[in-house]
């Protein structure tokens, strides 16, 4: 049952990048002679060793990549742009050849590197289903058999016989994914194609991907959508600059990846701000900190400096995000029933937002702050993105030191559980 389906050993892929060199030849005769020499050499032996040419540089898109995948596993491949994820999939799909290393595959492979591969705009939806299916590796009989399912999944019954060039982009993408979703390979390689369509369709796609993995197929899944990765994958490979920097459990590697990303954010504002100078967190003993215990109190302090101007009707908003960019909580003077504004603000100082207890679950958070109001006759808007980082640490808010992280939700709620009826033991 769990035998190795994919085995990759020391895979490497090298590209040659050329750079423009300043012209060395001025005579046409020399240019022609040089080109002819190069041309005949290239045609007769396309594989001769690349001579050291200062205008060319070697670029290893993948280097010494080795891993094993067992049957039925869903592996997420994550990494920043340019890490080599798509190159890895292309090599495993046999679209391009590795420069070094080897790999072994047991079973039929289907790869989805793009939705709608091979779709021709002039052909109708019906014709494109057959064409796309054939290109992806399905036989004609198989497509005929699944035709109705595909059409139902894509929800385009009415438009089957109109040319695809008339489809809206949403319909196009739904049809493309519908065909691809009905492949039945043993090994499926998917490259970031799930982020298509509206929310309802995305849910459908995720559901279908879940079905695929439940049927025991092996899936290699590249995505930037951490939510989808967390939901579907049993383990993860983290790539960085062409090498594997981590492989294993989903939670820890996603955090490692996200920490890598937020480390590249500087905490000083990228664009000059007009009036906001900084935002920081002050704990209940008036110290500036960047980590607090869950459930404790403190305040966000926003430093401002308004030189020579007077701001009126100022409104402050602080937004706290987790590392995947989901907003956990928003604190604003424009809240609840009334809009609190600072009627007049000038000079230099700070604004505090005091909280008795911050009920955020443990984890890393980033904080943005925005400033709105009027200056003179016109309105102004100012903001700092990622003004500070806050780490919430597990605490004894619940009476024990055990606490779940913010992967499972942002809010701490004190709860009591009671069971009634039947015959039972109590909680």
């Amino acid at each position: 049952m769990s035998d190795t389906i994919i085995q990759v050993e020391n895979l490497g892929k090298k590209y040659i990048i050329s750079h423009q060199t300043p012209g060395r030849y001025t005579a046409l005769r020399d240019v022609i002679a040089d080109k002819t020499k190069k041309l005949t050499r290239n045609i007769l032996s396309p594989f001769r060793k690349i001579e050291s040419d200062s205008s060319k540089e070697e670029f290893w898109a993948l280097k010494e990549v080795s891993f094993e995948v067992k049957q039925g596993e869903v592996i997420g491949i994550i990494g920043r742009n340019g890490a080599g994820k798509t190159t890895l999939l292309k090599i495993l799909s046999r679209i391009t050849e590795p420069t070094a290393g080897r790999f072994r595959l047991k079973g039929r492979v289907s790869s989805l590197l793009e939705v709608g591969t091979g779709f021709h705009p002039e052909l109708t939806g019906r014709e494109n289903i057959f064409l796309n299916g054939a290109i992806l590796g399905m036989g004609k009989a198989e497509i005929k058999r699944k035709f109705d399912e595909i059409v139902a999944f894509a929800e385009i019954e009415k438009f089957l016989d109109t040319p695809v060039k008339r489809y809206s982009s949403g319909m196009y993408v739904r049809l493309a994914f519908a065909v691809a979703a009905h492949l039945e390979p043993e090994i499926l390689l998917v490259d970031e194609v799930l982020s298509v369509g509206d929310a309802a369709f995305q849910k459908k796609c995720l559901g279908k991907m879940g079905d695929v993995s439940r049927e025991g197929r092996t899936v290699l899944f590249v995505s930037h959508n951490m939510g989808a990765v967390r939901q579907l994958c049993s383990s993860i490979i983290l790539l960085d600059h062409g090498r594997i920097v981590g492989a294993g459990s989903v939670g820890s590697l996603i955090d490692q990846y996200l920490r890598g990303i937020s480390a590249s954010y500087s905490s000083s504002p990228e664009t000059p701000t007009k009036f906001l100078r900084a935002i920081e967190f002050i704990d209940s003993s008036s110290h500036k900190v960047d980590s607090i215990l869950a459930g404790s109190g403190g305040s966000f302090r926003v430093h401002y400096e308004v030189d020579g101007d007077v701001l009126t009707n100022v409104c402050v908003t602080i937004a706290v995000y987790d590392l995947t960019g989901i907003k956990a909580v928003q604190l604003t003077t424009d809240h609840a029933y009334e809009k609190l504004t600072i009627e007049m603000l000038s000079g230099k100082g700070y604004i505090d937002c005091q909280m008795d207890a911050i009920l955020l679950t443990p984890g890393q958070y980033r904080v943005n702050v925005a400033f709105d109001g009027h200056k003179g006759n016109g309105a102004f808007h100012d903001g700092i993105v990622n003004g500070c980082q806050l780490t919430v640490m597990p605490s004894d808010y619940f009476g024990t030191i055990r606490m779940k992280t913010n992967e499972e939700g942002f809010v701490l709620v004190r709860q009591r559980w009671i069971v009634e009826g039947g015959s039972h033991n109590s909680f």
Binding site: K90, E97, R104, L136, K140
Partner: protein
């Protein structure tokens, strides 16, 4: 599909290739079907164009070469003489033009999906073959019209069709593979096709070529093919210049084998270069 153990290693040739070609055999049909369908989409008279085009060319040729230039026709009705040569020539020139751009035109497939790349130029040649068959129907109509019936030599026709196919494939493979790396061929091919029309025995019969030039003239592989077609279809007094014919056949075989070799060799770099 049965699961198979596949081992890919950097630098080693692919032994699975021919098995793969068989596995993807339906793709030949689908790509050719797509190209043909797309041609006639949103046209008013649709598939009738497939018949009209060769008919019109034949009429023009008959007027220009037959009536105006008055080239000899060896006792056969001139339209049939022209058409029997035009059939293989059109097949070859269309196949060459389409297959030379086939890889480039399907660049999005090559960089995103795996299948043996040989399918692509082959399906272009198949599309031209379909046109060839349709034109063959017109030739049949012409023969009925002129009450001209071919001799027993017709038996050689299938073999000659295979040779024409081989010629188209050989040239197509070479040019399509080279076109991926050097886009110059997009400009060279139309010129070669036009030029070839005048040095191939389409508008004239090979018998007008003086004996001392015959062998040099036969270096054009289509000379052998077209002469063969004429010999098979027209019967009666049409003679075949055997040395020239054999030379052309040899060239066709050479083109095909080397074309296949070059294509396979460069195929692995297509996705990176295209």
């Amino acid at each position: 599909m049965q699961s198979s153990d596949l081992v890919i290693e950097a630098g080693r040739t692919e032994r699975q290739y021919w098995k793969d070609l068989w596995r993807y055999k339906e793709l030949f049909y689908f790509l050719a079907w797509r190209d043909i369908l797309v041609r006639y989409k949103q046209t008013a008279i649709g598939i009738i164009w497939a018949l009209l085009r060769p008919l019109l060319i034949m009429i023009v040729f008959t007027i220009v070469f037959g009536r105006l230039a008055k080239l000899p026709s060896e006792g056969v009705p001139y339209p049939i003489l022209v058409f029997s040569a035009m059939l293989p020539w059109q097949f070859f020139s269309n196949a060459l033009s389409e297959s030379s751009n086939s890889l480039i035109g399907n660049a999005n497939l090559i960089s995103k999906v795996y299948f043996p790349r040989l399918v692509i130029p082959t399906s272009s040649v198949i599309v031209s073959f379909v046109d060839f068959v349709i034109s063959g129907v017109i030739l049949l109509g012409l023969m009925v019209w002129y009450n001209f019936w071919p001799s027993w030599r017709l038996v050689a026709l299938p073999a000659l069709i295979a040779v024409a196919f081989a010629a188209a494939m050989g040239a197509g493979l070479w040019i399509s593979a080279m076109n991926v790396q050097y886009r110059d061929f997009r400009y060279i091919v139309p010129f070669v096709v036009q030029f070839g029309l005048y040095i191939s025995p389409v508008g004239f019969s090979s018998s007008v070529v003086p004996e001392k030039w015959r062998l040099l003239y036969s270096l054009n592989p289509m000379v052998g093919v077209i002469d063969g077609f004429r010999w098979a279809l027209l019967g009666k007094d049409t003679m075949l210049h055997v040395p020239g014919f054999l030379l052309s056949m040899g060239l066709v075989a050479f083109l095909l084998v080397t074309g296949l070799w070059y294509f396979r060799k460069t195929e692995r770099t297509f996705a990176d270069v295209i």
